[in-house]
């Protein structure tokens, strides 16, 4: 067995932070190593911090090193009033903290059913779980008296041209993004959270996703077979594009992020019947290497100035419309942290598969909506059908053991 020593040491280091959890962390660490050895891709960690100025699951870990499995789950609040909504936030904080830290669930004795499902065994490993909580615009309606505290840019997601929106897959008062190193950990987390919050929130829709490893190297491919996320901003640039830092916004909003979730069906059968040249012209990159059509390797920077008529990279190709790489469009960039999904069949017998598009940004209108408007009627729209999702606001982080989700919103 190949052991990635660097990651092994990291695993034990995070174990030391919570001595009681060392067993769980080591198990997770060993599994993370196994992924690394098999896929030669980015190494996921055995645990990510729960407390901090920002929530994990956005840039911790970032898109290039994100966990391999995810679920986005939208909930509607059934809490009777603001006091109950506050109790819900306490409960969610407690569950997310426990699940992302790991440990032994409480023994309730013989007078109750067991406290935990044991889906992850008697000791719950953190297994790289991140729980990222966002709120939708509907939470700010008249039910909880929060109308005057709504993040300035938060609206319902409008239908865009070429969308095929289905109400059953749209919006929600809350959105949980759960990511982990294994799918059973994602399942366990959502089951646990739902069990503890039944009176106050109910699932509205959910979709499980998976991330592909690099094939064979570089950025992971989506189900159209193209590398997806090559141009994602990283490092300080990503931070500057993602976290809200705007004096015009309510105080409690600072340190959060606007989240776009789009469930996008990919018509993979149709796509597979399209010539490689047409595919590549629609995307603007070579399918094999991921290189821009004017470059030789994935991370070459396209030079649109040298190709003003789009003879090499068509003017209506996806990458050119999405990111024209001009000074004026630099602050429109978003952080994409997307997953693939596969759920069964459509009525017409096609595989129902596609893309859980997840993007984070400071400003929905300046960033996502501007890009999405530029993409209207791009040639790719024939092969994809956005049908669900919504706009959400990802809460600022839970800072420490005395803090809880949405404290600054609710107090």
């Amino acid at each position: 067995m190949t052991v990635n020593r660097r990651n092994f040491l990291k695993g034990t280091a995070s174990g030391a932070a919570g001595a009681a959890l060392a067993g769980g962390v080591l198990i997770g660490g060993a599994r993370a190593d196994a992924n690394a050895a098999k896929d030669s891709g980015p190494v996921t960690e055995a645990a990510y911090p729960f407390h901090g100025a920002y929530q994990s699951g956005v840039l911790t870990p970032g898109p290039a090193a994100k966990q391999h499995y995810a679920c986005v789950a939208a909930f509607d609040c059934t809490a009777a009033n603001k006091a109950d909504l506050t109790l819900l936030m306490y409960e969610l904080t407690g569950r997310a903290w426990f699940l992302t830290t790991g440990g032994t669930p409480p023994d309730l004795g013989v007078g109750q059913p067991p406290s935990d499902s044991d889906v992850l065994g008697p000791t719950v490993p953190a297994d790289g779980l991140t729980v990222t909580l966002s709120v939708g615009s509907s939470l700010f309606d008249d039910r909880y008296g929060l109308g005057d505290r709504k993040p300035l840019k938060l609206t319902e997601m409008p239908p865009f041209p070429n969308d095929f929106l289905e109400p059953a897959w749209l919006q929600g008062d809350l959105l949980l993004q759960l990511c982990a190193n294994h799918p059973d950990t994602v399942h366990h987390a959502i089951r646990d959270i739902a069990k503890h919050t039944r009176s106050s929130m109910q699932l509205r829709w959910k979709m499980e996703g998976y991330a592909s490893p690099p094939r064979p190297s570089g950025t992971a491919r989506n189900l159209l077979g193209f590398k997806d996320g090559t141009a994602n901003p990283t490092g300080p640039l990503a931070s500057n594009l993602v976290w809200v830092d705007d004096p015009a916004e309510p105080d409690w909003v600072q340190g959060g992020s606007y989240q776009v979730v789009r469930l996008i069906r990919m018509l993979v059968e149709f796509w597979d019947r399209v010539s490689i040249n047409e595919q590549q012209n629609m995307v603007g990159r070579r399918r094999d290497s991921g290189a821009p059509l004017d470059g030789t390797s994935e991370f070459d920077i396209p030079n649109y100035a040298a190709d003003p008529h789009g003879y090499v990279i068509p003017l209506d190709s996806h990458i050119r419309l999405a990111n024209p790489r001009t000074k004026a469009t630099a602050d429109q960039r978003i952080i994409r942290r997307s997953y693939n999904y596969d759920v069964g069949l459509d009525e017409n017998g096609n595989m129902q598969a596609g893309h859980i598009f997840i993007a984070y940004q400071q400003d929905l209108q300046r960033q996502f909506e501007t890009i999405q408007r530029r993409l209207t009627n791009e040639p790719l729209v024939d092969y994809v059908q956005p049908f669900g999702g919504g706009y959400f606001f990802t809460l600022p982080g839970v800072r420490d053991a005395t803090d809880w989700y949405a404290r600054a919103l609710l107090t």
Binding site: L21, G94, G103, D107, L108, G111, R198, M201, Q202
Partner: protein
């Protein structure tokens, strides 16, 4: 504090319990052999390593609870009260089935549909959940699923058979024999109510307190047992009524073991009833399909929270095995 109910000869299994610090001895009470004891074992307290969860909204206190064992004799009284309640519902059911027969004799399908709902709700209030009335219960309330010929199977009988026929255009002449057979089966249930295979066994009563509403969620609110009558919300309401009665009969035993649980469950039942009533349109029960998403979510939230509370009842009132 902890138990393993079955452990075979010459096998081992782990028993996990939470003990406070102190000295403990293991005692062994093997059948015909004299009692034996181990040397004292010292337990020292250790810090709880689980992050403290803020569970203000959770009705059940965290941490292991020592439970006073319950006896069959203690459950016998509450079960008698339940039997009397169920007998009253069965009498109502018999009258409703007789009305259906009369409706069908005069070819009044509209009246038969209305009386079918009365009958179905009377049966719900008998509390014969999770097939606890055996084959006789199935004869009254069985579903076509799992039968080789489905709704056309000759073994598909009873209330749902009537529902299926009434809402799928079958004539009174076809359905009258079904109603007559049903009347006979109901009479048998009435005569045998106190037998162990129906409502006689007191140890089933704690299960009923939980399972009647599990069935409502599983079979009614999923739509799986709807043969056309669209009665999911009405049936669930009737299930709350019988669950509330069963909980009443068990309240002294429960309060002695988990103080406050019956009061919490009572409050949650009231919330569930309100959520169910809110699905009514113009004074009539609506269907799963016509209820708004938010109305259904309120029902699901209320029944989900209630079931989490009630799930402790069978554990708290489980009669320990005797030797």
């Amino acid at each position: 504090m902890a138990e393993i109910e079955t452990i075979g000869p010459a096998t081992s299994a782990q028993l996990t319990g939470t003990l406070s610090s102190g000295a403990y001895v293991f005692k062994c009470l093997m059948g015909a052999l004299p009692e034996t004891s181990s040397a004292p074992v010292q337990v020292t307290a250790a810090a709880n390593t689980v992050p403290a969860s803020r569970t203000a909204s959770s009705p059940i206190a965290a941490g292991p609870v020592a439970v006073k064992p319950v006896t069959v004799a203690e459950l016998a009284g509450p079960n008698k009260e339940y039997q009397a309640y169920a007998a009253r519902q069965l009498a109502d059911l018999a009258e409703a089935v007789a009305r259906i027969q009369a409706d069908l004799r005069r070819n009044d399908v509209t009246a038969a549909k209305k009386d079918w709902l009365d009958a179905q709700l009377d049966w719900e209030r008998v509390g014969a959940s999770y097939d606890s009335f055996g084959n006789l219960g199935l004869a009254v309330d069985g579903l076509p699923d799992g039968l080789p010929r489905g709704v056309n199977d000759k073994n598909f009988t009873g209330l749902h058979r009537l529902e299926s026929g009434l809402w799928h255009g079958q004539g009174a002449a076809t359905l009258l024999p079904v109603a007559t057979t049903l009347a006979g089966k109901v009479a048998v249930v009435q005569r045998n109510l106190s037998s162990d295979s129906l409502a006689g066994d007191p140890t089933n009563l704690p299960l009923r307190a939980h399972e009647i509403l599990e069935d409502a969620l599983r079979d009614h609110l999923s739509g799986i047992d709807d043969e056309g009558g669209n009665a999911a919300f009405a049936e669930t309401f009737a299930d709350v009524q019988v669950s509330s009665a069963v909980l009443d009969y068990l309240t002294p035993l429960l309060d002695a073991r988990q103080p406050g649980l019956p009061a919490i469950a009572d409050d949650q039942m009231a919330i569930l009833k309100r959520a169910l009533l809110a699905t009514r349109v113009n004074g009539r029960w609506g269907s799963l399909a016509t209820a708004s998403l938010s109305a259904r979510e309120q029902v699901e939230a209320a029944i989900g929270a209630l079931l989490e509370t009630l799930s402790a009842v069978p554990d708290l009132l489980e009669v320990p095995p005797t030797h």
